[in-house]
């Protein structure tokens, strides 16, 4: 019985397919999910999410969020998520630069803005990590 993986962000349902295994970055380290996993609810970190389907591994970059495993359904609730092939490397690099530039005078920014920018940096770095992994 294969797993059903769903990745949902506020903007759209990014991924919805049956897969064999999923490796998710959680707050307690990477976590691999195989069919028959016990029900689980955990927090997801910024990082790369690996999906294996038919012997092929595909990568996605995810932002922070939550994951629920229930039966054979794996649902990931993330702030952002993007498939490897859709990542624009130069855009991500620029986003990191811009955000870090803005973060230099973090004293003047309010806490929510700092939080948003840090989230952006982490997600962009995760995107770059996914992209460079193949080389």
């Amino acid at each position: 019985m294969p797993l059903t993986l769903e990745i949902v962000t506020p903007e759209a349902r990014v991924y919805s397919d049956t897969v064999e295994t999923v490796v998710v970055p959680t707050v307690q380290g990477e976590l691999g999910i195989l069919p028959g996993h016990i029900p689980l609810l955990t927090q997801v970190e910024h990082g790369e999410l690996r999906v294996t389907k038919g012997g092929q591994t595909s990568l996605l970059a995810v932002g922070g969020g939550f994951m629920q495993v229930e039966g054979d359904l794996v649902s990931v609730l993330a702030e952002h998520a993007i498939r490897e092939e859709q990542i624009d490397e130069s855009a991500a690099e620029k986003a990191v630069e811009r955000a870090q530039e803005a973060l230099k005078n973090r004293g003047q920014l309010d806490a929510t803005e700092v939080e948003r920018l840090e989230g952006l940096v982490r997600f962009s770095v995760a995107q770059l990590g996914v992209k460079r992994r193949r080389r």
Binding site: V8, T9, A12, P39, L41, Q43, F66, G71, S75, T112
Partner: protein
Amino acid sequence: MELVAASKMKKAQQVALAGRPYTELMADMLAALAPRVDESKHPFLTAREVKIRGILLLTTDKGLCGPLNSNLFKLVVDIKTPAKFVVVGRKGAQFLARTKRDLLADFPIDDRVPFSAVKAAAEFLVEKFLAGEIDTVEVIYPQFKNTLVQEPVCRPVLPLSNLREFLDKIEGDSSVARARRDEREMRIEPDPTTVLEALLPFYVNRHIYELVLLAKASEHSARMVAMKTAKDNANKLLGDLTLQYNKARQAAITQEILEIAAAQFATG
């Protein structure tokens, strides 16, 4: 303007619908988590005596959208208990100033509805709620039923005192109510309280965001309908006036011919 509103409406509805699975999934997770934590542990979950209600009023910046805003104001007028208001949209701010109600803050949110702007408003309310300045967080907004019908609704957001009941309600009208439930005990990592503490503020922000999106969709629909009515009325008026003008012109011509004929008759 009808067409402008129509295209904006379509966009707003799409955005509102795209966020749906996310919110439903989040509600689902909350439902899984709820029985495993003590409700009294988190301030969001404990009901307290309501002395001052905190109300977020979602209105539009511009007029020309039919009775949308005035329907919301009727709900506000009905509130007799002490309440403090936070408002989105210029119309609402003007109304509250006119009726001399306690306005805490006013957040402008443009048509693109950036999440960060809504988050600022939501966090402001949560802060006041935690500080004890207000005892509830409620949202008054136009519920989007369909393009023709928008109903003003007052929806309580905090406290989620009766989480179970609340979840049953939202699950009732969502498609998430899954029949296939795993019977085994759920593991929650690192531990239920941590996850709940991370999830709840997230959920409140998200919930309010969705209500704002619905309010925007309502606004554009109401405006489209109002503009269509206005256009139809103007067309009808134009027809009537053209008819009247033609009649008057014809009468004048007939009169002139009569006068010329009479003059000729008299001289001839």
